[in-house]
């Protein structure tokens, strides 16, 4: 296997990928409509890209690369509106959220494309259970070594992204008690987890080459790590987020990642340690189970704090960077949401409380995504 080359990109640029649910407008169950929708969208001039995903009930929105939050949000809104318009013509609706509240996984159909069919063969029912919807955030890095440092430094903040994006409290028709139940679906895959404790791009290359020789992987794509470098884009990719219920939240999360990456690479506040990974799974569980109310162990001070407090403090530290990156507004928005203790999971639970019907929850979810909330 050729050693992977990290194609540098301009630092702190960002892009997002959003996996979205395609639902019918009768009972708002997942619908089989991705192919028809993509066919229509193929004939429309759009920024970014809309792509198929593993099941016929999912599409993926890819933004282009942006240096500023404002431009990213504008583009996402444009794409959202175009997709919603064409979905409407097919009598389909689109919504965010990390899981569909009541779909039955056995009923899903795999999008017919060779890679997806291969995955479905390999993973059996896991592939269908993997009908979950995430947001991936890319942040540009100047070098492979920077990327490795950033992946380790961001590990401490993984719970932040989980709690801020959590939007999958319901799964298979029940309240899971988790804020993000989606993460549990991913944990079942053998190559999920976090990047091994390598210290440089060369060390990572050696690791990947070894795994390739073992014939455990075919390429870097087979690792489903929470954060992984993406050498061909020259980015690191944060993969723990549920797809939020609005593009505004999605863009704000990207702005958060951007400012955080800027601060971490500029200040390098901590040297990566193995110890940081000792608390990793504990913190990750707390965040996906309890959301903003989760417990958080700071790997450097070893102190326990409430996750919301740690996020609030971090947001404050980022103020100068947000200023420089022109993202004060979204960062402020996140702080307000943390202060109120509200995330999308709370919104979904509230919607269910009001309506007592998962169908209604998804209907409201779709309206919220389209930007026309009642």
């Amino acid at each position: 296997m050729e050693p992977l080359r990290f194609t540098p990109s301009s630092p702190y640029t960002m892009g997002v990928e959003l996996e979205l649910q395609v639902v019918n407008t009768r009972d708002y169950n997942l619908a089989r409509g991705a192919a028809d929708l993509l066919e229509r969208l193929g004939r429309v001039e759009l920024p970014g890209e809309v792509k198929p995903e593993i099941t016929e009930s999912m599409i993926e929105l890819n933004s282009s690369v942006h240096a500023r939050h404002g431009a990213l949000l504008a583009e996402l809104r444009l794409m959202r509106d175009a997709v919603a318009l064409h979905a409407g013509k097919l009598n389909l609706a689109i919504c965010g959220g990390g899981t569909h509240p009541f779909q039955q996984w056995a009923e899903r159909r795999i999008y017919s494309e060779s890679r997806f069919e291969y995955l479905s063969d390999l993973y059996g029912y896991l592939a269908k259970q993997f009908t979950v919807f995430g947001q991936h955030i890319h942040v540009g890095c100047g070098s492979g070594d920077d990327a490795i440092y950033l992946v380790h430094a961001l590990a401490r903040y993984v719970p932040h992204f989980i709690a801020l994006s959590a939007s999958s409290p319901f799964s298979q028709g029940v309240d899971t008690a988790f804020d993000s139940s989606r993460l549990n679906a991913i944990a079942a895959f053998p190559l999920s987890g976090s990047m091994p404790f390598v210290q440089s791009w060369d060390e990572l290359n050696a690791y990947v080459a070894k795994m390739y020789r073992f014939r455990i992987i075919g390429s870097m794509k087979d690792f489903y790590w929470d954060i992984r470098p993406k050498p061909e884009y020259g980015t690191i990719e944060i993969r723990v987020c549920d797809t939020p219920l609005t593009v505004e939240r999605a863009a704000a999360l990207a702005a958060y990642a951007q400012a955080l990456a800027h601060r971490l690479l500029a200040e390098r506040p901590h040297r990566p340690t193995r110890d940081a990974y000792l608390v990793y799974n504990y913190n990750r569980f707390q965040a996906s189970r309890f959301g903003l109310r989760g417990n958080f162990i700071d790997p450097h001070t070893e102190r326990h704090v409430m996750l919301a407090d740690d996020i609030a403090r971090t947001l404050e530290e980022l103020a100068p960077y947000a200023e420089a990156l022109e993202s004060r507004e979204p960062i402020e928005g996140l702080r307000a949401s943390v202060a109120s203790g509200e995330n999308d999971a709370a919104w979904l639970r509230d919607a269910y409380q009001r309506t007592h019907s998962f169908t209604d929850v998804v209907r409201l979810q779709a309206a919220r995504w389209a930007g026309r909330e009642q």
Binding site: T25, R26, E39, K89, L90, N91, T355, T359, R363
Partner: protein, 402 residues
């Protein structure tokens, strides 16, 4: 003569009774459906074939009297299906994709015109030709819905086909009703009945649908969003509506369609849960198709088989053209549009009921017209389900069969 000692014994032969009949029909359907599935034909074809075997055309086991007894089960199943179908007519969708509405109008219109011309050329009087053509507008909701369910089909061809079926069912019913008034004129009925009968049918049936809708909303609100309770509520309202329509000599088809359409489109607070009744009442549907098969008199094929074939052909052309015309604007691939046209092939079993109703009104009906339309229905009872299954599978919309 049984002696008093044996008075506890039933008469010989004992009367069959509705329940025994229901069970027998169900078993017969089961056998037929299972057999045809072995050769990958839709189960419906098996139900209909078994029906034909035991009915008029075949062994004659199912007499007209027994069929009359079975009518109640048929009415229930039709009622449930028509409610489901009404719920498929999504006005919001028609607003967002006007070309869907356009294809609904054009396929109805074109199939009407083409059948009319063909029947007129065949020598039918203009009025009977028009009635025969109007009946041909409608696609069988029962066949399309059941095939879609059986194949777990989902996608644009399936969804659009069901919307078009809902539209053409309404269109067929309204046009047949209007033509009825002209038929009255032909038979020199009084002006009062010419005007009032269709008016009573249309307005009365719609009103019945409105009442059912209002009750559903009120009860739905009171019961809350509990699936089991709302299911019972909806079945109760559907059966009640069917029964009232029969009692009041209104149209079951129109009343139930209106009920479904209103629930789907005018329930702003979403009080009524989106439940599919047909899926949960499969048993009744089996009986529906066995009875449909048994009611058909295939002997008409001998009289007017050729004309029936022409009827089927021009109707097919009309529907196909009507759909293909707007496909590019609707963003539908030509292949999907063609399959959509194909999926509209089956003719409604209640077409037979309409035919008999129309022809039964007056002492000297045009038997020739009856023969042509019935032949077409017989042909399509066999071909229709196969065509729909082929269309949905070819469109790639069929899932793993249940």
């Amino acid at each position: 003569m049984p002696t008093p000692d044996f008075a506890f014994l039933p008469d010989f032969p004992p009367p069959l009774g509705a329940l025994t009949l229901f069970g027998l029909l169900l078993l017969a359907g089961l056998v037929g459906g299972h057999l045809v599935r072995q050769v990958r034909l839709p189960a419906i074809t098996g139900y209909v074939a078994v029906g034909m075997l035991v009915g008029h055309t075949g062994l004659g086991l199912l007499t007209a009297e027994l069929l009359q007894q079975a009518r109640v089960f048929v009415d229930i199943s039709l009622g449930l299906l028509l409610y489901d179908l009404g719920r498929r007519l999504d006005l919001q969708w028609l607003r967002q994709d006007r070309w869907l509405l356009a294809s609904g109008v054009s396929e109805s219109l074109l199939s009407f015109v083409l059948i009319y011309v063909a029947l007129a050329l065949y020598g039918l009087s203009p009025l009977y030709a028009a009635i025969g053509a109007a009946i041909g507008i409608s696609t069988s909701p029962a066949v399309v819905m059941l095939i879609a369910q059986e194949n777990r089909a989902e996608g644009q061809v399936t969804e659009r086909a069901l919307s078009l079926v809902a539209m053409n069912s309404v269109a067929a019913f309204v046009i047949v009703t209007v033509l009825l008034s002209v038929l009255h004129l032909e038979y020199r009925a009084s002006w009062v009945s010419i005007v009032l009968h269709p008016l009573y049918l249309l307005a009365g049936s719609m009103l019945l649908g409105v009442v059912a809708w209002a009750l559903a909303l009120a009860l739905g609100r009171w019961l809350g969003k509990r699936e089991e309770r709302q299911f019972v509520m909806l079945v109760a309202l559907v059966v009640l509506t069917v029964g009232s329509a029969n009692m009041l000599r209104l149209s079951v088809v129109l009343a139930l369609l209106v009920f479904g359409i209103l629930v789907k489109n005018f329930d702003r607070r979403h009080r009524v849960l989106p439940l599919e009744l047909g899926v949960r009442a499969q048993l009744f549907l089996v009986v529906l198709f066995v009875v449909a098969g048994a009611s058909l008199d295939a002997r008409y094929l001998a009289v007017a088989g050729g004309a029936g074939l022409v009827y089927v052909a021009v109707r097919f052309v009309g529907k196909m053209l009507g759909v293909m015309l707007w496909a590019p604007l609707s963003g539908l691939r030509p292949k999907s549009a063609a399959l959509l046209g194909l999926a509209l092939t089956p003719m409604a079993g209640f077409a037979v009921v309409m035919v008999q109703d129309v022809w039964g009104l007056y002492p000297e009906p045009d038997v020739q017209a009856l023969a042509v339309v019935t032949s077409a229905v017989v042909l399509l009872e066999i071909l229709g389900p196969v065509a729909v299954q082929f269309a949905l599978r070819r469109a790639g919309e069929a899932g793993v069969p249940r």
